[in-house]
Symmetry: C2
Subunit: 154 residues, 2 copies
């Protein structure tokens, strides 16, 4: 039986582990900088997230170890009769727990959190090269109804 996983708001003490997880990834290793001390830009982003009531950085814990992370952004829109949406981003689980259902628990937790915040929709984008991720989210009930477009800015 899998040991119990707890979910909570990340604290600054978790940031090192979070960046380590983000960097230990097919796409992440090209764009993150996991080094000691952590680059200031990560600390600034952490402060911006935690001081914004519409952003929550959530970690999954098991045996006092951080084994997963997700950021949830809550956004009020005029569309859909003024409905709130939740957007999830930066989802990772640590290497040794992959394939054990931790990601599923993490996303299901985020879905419940979005419901509790009164969102009518939860959404995310996933790079088309992450074929397994697409199937993972589809199994959880997400529909790939939209194109996700990005533009890098200088």
């Amino acid at each position: 039986m899998q040991k119990k996983i707890n979910f909570r708001i990340a604290t600054e003490r978790d940031l090192d582990r979070i960046v380590e997880m983000l960097a230990d990834d097919e796409l992440g290793r090209k764009r993150e900088r996991y080094e000691q001390p952590l680059p200031e830009s990560y600390k600034k982003a952490f402060q911006a997230i935690t001081s914004d009531p519409n952003n929550e950085l959530i970690v999954a814990n098991q045996d006092n170890e951080v084994i997963g992370v997700v950021q949830i952004t809550f956004t009020p829109y005029i569309t859909h009769q003024g409905g709130w949406r939740a957007t999830i981003e930066g989802v990772r689980t640590t290497a040794y727990v992959r394939g054990k259902g931790v990601g599923t628990e993490l996303i299901n937790w985020a879905i419940q959190r979005a419901k509790n915040r009164g969102c009518h929709l939860i959404q995310l984008t996933t790079d088309k090269i992450r074929v397994d991720a697409l199937h993972f989210y589809e199994r959880l009930g997400f529909k790939a109804t939209h194109e996700g477009l990005k533009m890098k800015l200088e």
Copy 2:
């Protein structure tokens, strides 16, 4: 020569026109309620957006008429070394200006705004049934690198 278009933060006096534009749309007419008085849910969403420093509801004006709308959300993330992103949503132009480049000006304005706010990326999702919209954004320089997944919540 096209008359000059100005862009500014929407005020509550613009809300009626904004909802009218959102409702006058292939998908919008199924999900919006443009009626007098406007449903309270739109007013509440407007208040939530305007009181949030990370959300901007922008209108395009020409000859003192509101002819376009876009919402821009600025989000701090841990990913990409703690980079900020801009997300655009609820883009509409009024029927009589369509095909005249107003949408292009509106999105280019949003791109510039995202740069001014220090974002490294601007993104959006568009319903796969909106084939023209996809090509419109691709012409502006967006790349459809991602799947956009959504889940409706009860």
